[in-house]
């Protein structure tokens, strides 16, 4: 049986051949990443071999994808300037700017305390 050479499953015994979808370019920490139209940001990043999406506030530990259905908050990143975006349930858009989030993120215009 075929072992994976790349992370996208282009041909699958049950799902068939992946339908042609428009490639979309997004930026991840300044680096251009090719995504497929309509897929969640997290899928595009995993397909590109990126596994760390954010770092925790206190111990600065890496987090990636855990539940993949928008419930656990592991995959949150800053998307087009907005923090805490659940990348596993947010579809990509051409030109989207995705950044590794450090800590809890800051909402513009919000006043709050930092430890």
């Amino acid at each position: 049986m075929e072992r994976v050479k790349h992370m996208r499953v282009k041909n699958h015994p049950i799902l068939g051949v992946q339908p042609e979808t428009k490639p979309v370019l997004i930026k991840f920490d300044g680096e251009l990443v090719e995504a497929l139209e309509g897929e969640p940001i997290a899928a595009a990043l995993l397909a590109a071999g990126k596994t760390v999406f954010r770092y925790t506030r206190k111990r600065k530990e890496p987090r990636g994808v855990y539940c993949a259905i928008g419930r656990c908050t592991d995959c949150m990143m800053i998307v087009d300037g907005v923090p805490n975006v659940r990348t596993c349930v947010t579809p990509v858009r051409a030109g989207m700017k995705v950044e590794t989030q450090h800590g809890l993120g800051e909402l513009k215009g919000a006043e709050h305390d930092h430890d």
Binding site: M1, E2, N11, H12, P13, I14
Partner: protein, 167 residues
């Protein structure tokens, strides 16, 4: 070591299955081997057999019972078993060889003529074999059936195949 302990049916468990054909029947021609040994609610095999050779009845947790005289070895039931537990063995394929038809839901699909290793129920290569038929009709709903020719004494052990793919 039992199915429950290892995930593999032991020789003793296999021998007791009501879906197991007799040696005498196997010497007469192709026949189904239903390796279904746990009572779970499931009965597609019964309706799939056009000869009425498979009975599950009521309750549907009954193990499928084979009427080996009704079975023609046509293999229509192989693709329809959700547990992929059904095979067709033909001990009369040739003097030396028997064939084993198995469900195969992987890519790439082998081609007719492909030389392969025959793997047993634990995934161990136990013999060399040759693919003689691959069918994948729409009615099988994406469960292709691959038939492989192996030495006769391996026919009741080979349940999977492997080969080196060209990159």
């Amino acid at each position: 070591m039992t199915l429950e302990q290892t995930g593999v049916l032991s020789r003793e468990e296999l021998a007791k299955l009501p879906g197991m054909p007799s040696e005498e029947r196997m010497r007469r021609g192709p026949v189904v081997v239903i390796e279904c040994g746990q009572e779970i609610p499931c009965n597609p095999c019964e309706a799939l057999c056009r000869q009425g050779a498979i009975s599950v009845g009521d309750p549907i947790t009954n193990l499928p019972v084979l009427d080996e005289d009704k079975c023609t070895g046509c293999g229509l039931c192989i693709a329809g078993c959700p547990g992929q537990a059904i095979f067709v063995v033909d001990m009369t394929y040739s003097e030396q060889e028997a064939t084993v038809a198995m469900p195969y839901e992987f890519l790439p699909l082998p081609e007719k003529g492909q030389v392969v290793e025959g793997l047993d129920r634990e995934g161990r290569a136990i013999c060399s074999g040759r693919v003689v038929k691959v069918v994948n009709p729409k009615a099988f709903d994406r469960t292709p059936v691959v038939t492989v020719a192996v030495p006769q004494d391996c026919a009741m052990s080979v349940r999977n195949i492997a080969w080196q793919k060209q990159r």
